[in-house]
């Protein structure tokens, strides 16, 4: 823990318990608008984070506080003596789970307001083994060989996007592209993964969770959650670009990958071994995580977090989806068409 702190003290400025990268210009990525964030932070002086969120933004209660979002992290087999890093920790849900199970954690995020919120949460949870760093994930974090494990949960696809993202407003049509994007998103993502690799100790593990480019539902009725458009996830990049430029006036940069493409990417970044898992209904709230390409029996069962409905069309659609899930995943075992992947990638011991 002291080793991590001394490294951070050498490299970054510490203001009120937050480390800052001085050369980093402010970034923003949040489910809340900047205005809403300000309201949230102002109210945190008066009551607990849970009460304030439930009162002001109840839709975010589950994503911020539900401990079951961390079920996938069991795959990392975190040990008490280990030091970890959560790249893009945002509200701190996974960071806090890890901090309770390991020696110390570093939470990194480009959104200062999110880290301010996490500070409150850490105080409420009586956790004193966490450090928070406000910096841009596209820049190199010179913490070579520091961490036993790293978490990249729903982050890789956003790395190439240089825009500030207020999620609700981000998908409004014809919103101008106010910043230039990376020329080659894949290269940016690869550089990021190389940095993650470099910062791991020999034998270190990466938990990488991301949507699948070829989720079968993208071919049918599901929008790409990163562009809120149909088909951009799996179409050739040039065509996805055309669509995004036509609709939003900005290129498509939130690259997803197939099961094999993602494995290739992690291996190009330097990782020696990759264990692949399919996550259902997605990696954010996994209820089923199934190892891919092993000899284990296929115990797939269709799971969705659904509110009950009397709408006949909705019920019919859900039934069709359940049948398709059964055919594709249970009968045919085609996990390459799963909604999300969780990869456990390992750095070699040498």
């Amino acid at each position: 823990m002291k080793e991590l702190r001394s490294k951070l003290d050498q490299l970054y400025e510490n203001v009120d318990g937050l480390y800052y990268n001085k050369s980093f210009s402010k970034g923003y990525w949040s489910n809340l608008s900047k205005k809403e964030q300000t309201v949230l932070l102002r109210n945190l002086e008066r009551d607990s984070t849970r009460n304030i969120v439930n009162k002001l933004f109840p839709r975010l209660g589950k994503i911020i506080f539900d401990p079951m979002r961390a079920v996938g992290l069991r795959l990392l087999e975190i040990k008490e003596h280990e030091v970890g890093v959560d790249y893009g920790c945002m509200w701190g849900n996974l960071l806090i789970y890890c901090a309770k199970n390991c020696r110390s954690m570093l939470g990194v995020d480009q959104t200062r307001e999110s880290l301010e919120f996490v500070k409150y949460r850490l105080k409420e949870e009586n956790l004193f083994n966490c450090y928070l760093l406000n910096t841009n994930l596209r820049e190199s974090l010179p913490l070579k060989g520091t961490f036993d494990f790293a978490i990249v949960n729903g982050v890789l696809e956003w790395i190439p996007d240089k825009n500030d993202v207020e999620l609700n407003a981000f998908f409004r049509k014809n919103k101008s592209c106010i910043k230039k994007h990376s020329i080659n998103p894949k290269l940016v993502q690869l550089e990021f993964l190389r940095m993650v690799y470099s910062n791991l100790k020999p034998g270190g593990k990466l938990y990488l969770a991301i949507e699948n480019r070829y989720d079968y539902q993208y071919f049918l009725w599901k929008k790409d959650p990163h562009s809120n458009l149909f088909y951009t996830a799996f179409l050739p990049r040039r065509i996805a670009n055309l669509i995004s430029n036509a609709w939003y006036g900005r290129p498509y940069v939130n690259y997803l990958y197939s099961i094999n493409e993602l494995e290739q990417l992690t291996k190009e970044a330097g990782f020696a071994e990759v264990e692949k898992y399919a996550a259902f209904p997605d990696y954010r709230y996994p209820q089923k995580i199934i190892p891919v390409q092993t000899n284990m029996e296929n115990n797939f069962k269709s799971v969705y977090m659904l509110r009950s409905t009397h709408n006949i069309l909705k019920r019919g659609a859900r039934k069709i989806r359940k049948i398709l899930d059964w055919v594709i995943y249970k009968k045919l075992g085609l996990f390459s068409l799963a909604p999300s992947f969780i990869y456990i990638a390992r750095k070699s011991e040498d």
Binding site: V71, P286, K288, N299
Partner: protein, 246 residues
């Protein structure tokens, strides 16, 4: 570390009834087993309680198994894999009558004179594994608690009701055949049970009452009526069911 010595995980279930517990099926070096893991401080208690349940069961049934409890920040237990027939949660009663009879015999053999007496709390057919030769293993001891022997029979009638609900939504729809089967189950259970028993006079009603009266013993994270259909079924319909079989 060689690849073969690593554990491969499969998340089987996550946070059922908001209990903040996850169940993983694991494989390591060719051996399969299960891990039940807490994800909150409250669910540590559930894990610890489940371990007590398994220990109680293995002792009275004289089984040579062990459930290993790890008390990390979040508790977890390692449960051996049992080979045998596992039924889905929504199995109707008509699909498992033979199994029900075997289970009732097993329950009578081990629970009737067990010291101390206990309640499993969720003895659905899907939580019972029957292997060849009628060996029975019972899993999911999360709601285990010690109880007065006068409540002998609760687990069986809770089990019967779950299977019945999967088949019939209304008591009026219960067929004559099913009623006859329930009656035969009742006759097997009641034979040799002391008169002081508080369940068997009106088995479904009294089992429902037990759930409501002693809900604090079940370690629930939701309302008892959210977890147990028996607790929210109308009393007059339970009364009708009891009249059929007693």
């Amino acid at each position: 570390m060689k690849k073969e010595s690593r554990t491969i995980y499969e998340l089987v279930s996550s946070g059922t009834h908001k209990n903040n517990v996850a169940l993983y099926k694991c494989r390591k070096n060719g051996r399969c087993f299960y891990k039940k893991v807490a994800f909150s401080s409250f669910s540590n208690r559930l894990i610890e309680n489940e371990k007590k349940g398994y220990d109680w069961f293995y002792k009275i049934a004289e089984k040579d198994y062990q459930v290993i409890l790890s008390r990390n920040n979040f508790f977890e237990i390692e449960i051996p894999e049992f080979r045998g027939k596992i039924h889905p949660p929504n199995i109707p009663l008509k699909g498992c009558k033979d199994e029900v009879e075997i289970i009732i015999d097993f329950y009578k053999k081990y629970w009737l004179n067990a010291q101390p007496f206990s309640i499993h709390g969720d003895l659905a057919i899907s939580n019972i594994i029957l292997s060849d030769g009628e060996d029975i293993n019972i899993i999911d001891w999360e709601h285990f608690h010690l109880a007065d022997p006068i409540y002998f029979g609760f687990d069986i009638f809770n089990m019967l009701f779950i299977a019945l609900r999967n088949q019939f939504k209304k008591v009026e729809s219960v067929s004559k055949k099913t009623k006859a089967f329930l009656k035969s189950c009742y006759n097997i259970i009641i034979d040799g049970v002391p008169a002081s028993n508080q369940i068997l006079e009106k088995p479904f009603q009294n089992s429902s009452d037990y759930l409501i009266r002693f809900k604090h013993k079940f370690g629930l994270c939701v309302e008892v009526t959210d977890k147990y259909a028996l607790a929210k079924f109308p009393q007059r319909e339970l009364e009708q069911l009891d009249l059929f079989i007693t």
